[in-house]
């Protein structure tokens, strides 16, 4: 009885086989290993972990390999895997103040306690293709800081906070659980915890464009990069059976605190306001854009008028997820013959009606007038 599968199943199998072949590329070239991607394309790994919403460097590296380097496809693979994992709970808030710093800069103070640390940055490289990388490169080991212990590095916003110049972090309600947009559908207007979650997993390019738009006048927030810090923080988890938090390990994160001018409102006195970005790995561009957009999305909370795309919760939150976006854009490839057939018939009918109406208009026209018009 089961006869109708015909070409479909065979075609899909053959397509997948060809895809694997293309992924492998020229077999004379050694196959790239997942650990090579993890170690040498680590910024791609970081991006995939964020947009895939899962901290697992090996899995992200494997996904990049499987996706032939298509990072959105890789994030999608990670997401689909993540769905099948059980959820145990949520960690204690990360203490980024206690970060083991690799990079830390502030644009608002020339010098500050703990100092500025450039770390591994492209910032002052000249963007010249380095042809020596064509060969296996001799990469010298980094210089090591000889100081006995790292100095304390308080967060810049904490320095401002001491003076009351920056709005206080709104205290969380006691026992309030952080929302989880993978467990409850996102409803707008959404609270800031959910907004930040959506931004953290949102597409880097989308956030970059939105953040950029605020700088070009579409909802300016007068931002200063108060501090960007990158390094390792410890993740702790409260185990109900134990009654105290236990460390699970460390993760590398990037954090950006934007400081924005704020003229105050009826209830709030003038002060600086915060825009916040935090994500896995070394993803400076992402967290800076995220902090700009976070601040823009707070416009309404701070009593401003929502006038630009970056300030508009529904617009930003509904379109930030690139796995959703790519699926829906690409679903246009699926057959739509049934709907197209219906539209075809409609357009044919409307053309017939149009022609008929035109013909009757022609017939009605006064010939003298027509001559004059010509």
């Amino acid at each position: 009885m089961y006869v109708s599968v015909k070409g479909g199943e065979k075609a899909i199998r053959a397509a997948h086989r060809l895809l694997a072949h293309r992924r492998r590329g020229d077999r004379a070239v050694p196959e790239v290993a997942a650990d090579q991607i993890r170690e040498q394309l680590s910024l791609a790994v970081d991006r995939v972990m964020n947009e895939g919403s899962l901290h697992d460097r090996d899995l992200a590296a494997l996904a990049i390999k499987q996706a032939r380097g298509d990072l959105i496809e890789a994030a999608f693979l990670v997401r689909a895997y993540r769905t099948t994992l059980p959820r145990f709970g949520y960690s204690v808030p990360l203490d980024t103040g206690a970060m083991t710093i690799e990079r830390r800069i502030s644009a608002t103070y020339k010098d500050l306690p703990g100092g500025q640390i450039l770390g591994p940055t492209f910032d002052y490289t000249h963007r010249l293709i380095d042809f020596t990388l064509m060969a296996d490169s001799e990469t010298p080991l980094p210089e090591r800081d000889t100081a006995a212990s790292a100095p304390a590095m308080p967060r810049v916003t904490d320095l401002l906070d001491g003076e009351g110049l920056i709005e206080a972090e709104p205290p969380a309600a006691p026992d309030a659980e952080p929302g989880d947009l993978t467990r409850a559908p996102l409803r707008v207007p959404a609270a800031r915890d959910l907004r930040l979650q959506q931004l953290a997993r949102g597409d880097e390019g989308f956030l970059l464009a939105l953040g950029y738009s605020t700088q070009r006048g579409y909802g300016s927030t007068h931002p200063f990069a108060g501090e960007i810090r990158i390094g390792e923080v410890e993740v702790e988890f409260e185990v109900p059976e134990l009654g105290f938090a236990v460390p699970l390990g460390t993760v590398t994160v990037s954090e950006c605190q934007m400081i924005n001018q704020f003229a105050g409102s009826a209830e709030i006195e003038p002060s600086f306001s915060r825009g916040y970005g935090l994500a896995f790995g070394q993803v400076e561009r992402k967290v800076m854009a995220m902090a700009l957009v976070d601040r823009a999305l707070r416009t309404e909370d701070l009593g401003g008028a929502v006038e630009h795309p970056a300030q508009d919760q529904e617009f930003v939150l509904s379109h930030a997820d690139n796995v959703q976006a790519t699926g829906f854009v690409e679903h246009l490839k699926l057959p739509h013959y049934v709907d197209f057939q219906a539209e075809l018939a409609l357009v044919r009918e409307m053309r017939r009606e149009h022609a008929a109406a035109h013909a009757s208009r022609e017939a009605d026209t006064d010939p003298v007038f027509e001559e004059a018009a010509e």
Binding site: M1, V5, F76, G327, D339
Partner: protein, 298 residues
């Protein structure tokens, strides 16, 4: 019908874990209790792309049992690639029996069509839905459309239909044609052609609608009143075709236009492949198969 195959180890039955299935079933129950109302649910990231049926797949996964017989169609056909892919997914993860026969299926997942053969009590039709909100293209804001549904404030939709008649002389909507459910909620039937709209009305089957990307589930329980919007003096009209199916001669089915050469040659055949095959097995013949003289009306 193909018998169940051994399902893949390592994943839960029908892929989703039991907690998730329970959550989706709760949403389905609520949707059934409030026909036509869109119930938000925490759609999971699925191993297929958003927009490719993730909502329908999650609904199917939540209601499927080992004894079910599954049919999957896209554009009315069992052999379109996405239908093949979804059917294979459930064979692999749930090991259920599958079929192409509408009458044999207990669960039918569909994209863009309702089968021609009338559904029976006990069958469930699961629709894949891209945009569940019928008012979305008139009002892009979810916060506003939510209020409009809550207050049954639907004048705007009729304004759209009014504009169509004023401009074209008729309602220029051919698919995803909005309906009113039990006189209360405005509902998007998913992009089925309006030809299929009357089939939803008072159907003995359970109809479930899943939108994964938009995270909404809605439902039509059996024997629900479903009316296509219209005006008293411009009543809803089902699409009519000028020629019968070239293969089976059916005059009452939705037809696909197939381009057969590059000189404008075309033929029209049933979009519902099972319907067409069944009719041919019963001896019906369309013009292309040579015996046009035969009785073509079923």
């Amino acid at each position: 019908m193909t018998a169940p195959i051994k399902r893949t180890e390592g994943y839960a039955f029908a892929y989703l874990d039991e907690q998730t299935k329970r959550m989706i079933r709760r949403a389905i129950l609520k949707a059934v209790a409030i026909p036509g109302h869109q119930v938000p649910f925490a759609a999971r990231d699925m191993p297929m792309p958003y927009g490719w049926g993730t909502g329908g797949i999650q609904v199917t996964a939540a209601i499927l049992g080992p004894a079910d017989v599954l049919k999957v169609i896209d554009q009315g056909a069992d052999d379109t690639t996405n239908a093949v892919s979804i059917r294979a997914f459930f064979q692999k993860t749930a090991g259920v029996a599958v079929t192409t026969r509408t009458a044999q299926a207990s669960v039918i997942q569909t994209r863009h069509r309702i089968p021609e053969e009338p559904l029976k009590a006990g069958q469930t039709l699961v629709y894949q839905v891209p945009i569940p909100e019928p008012l979305r293209f008139l009002e892009p804001r979810e916060t506003e459309t939510r209020v409009m549904h809550a207050l049954a404030d639907y004048g705007l939709m009729h304004v759209k239909l009014y504009e169509d008649i004023a401009t074209h002389g008729h309602i220029a909507k051919t698919y995803a044609y909005p309906v009113k459910v039990e006189g209360r909620y405005m509902m998007d039937p998913s992009p089925i052609p309006k030809f299929d709209n009357p089939k939803m009305h008072m159907s003995p089957a359970l109809q479930l609608f899943g939108a994964g990307r938009e995270k909404r589930i809605y439902a039509l329980p059996p024997f629900t009143r479903v009316e296509s919007l219209d005006f008293d003096d411009h009543p809803f009209e089902r699409t009519k075709f000028e020629a019968p199916c070239a293969l089976c001669g059916a005059t009452d089915s939705y037809l696909d236009e197939v381009v057969i050469d590059d000189k404008g040659g075309r033929m029209f055949v049933c979009s519902d492949t099972d319907h067409c095959e069944t009719r041919r097995e019963e001896g019906h013949r369309g013009a292309l198969l040579g015996t046009p003289a035969e009785e073509t009306r079923p």
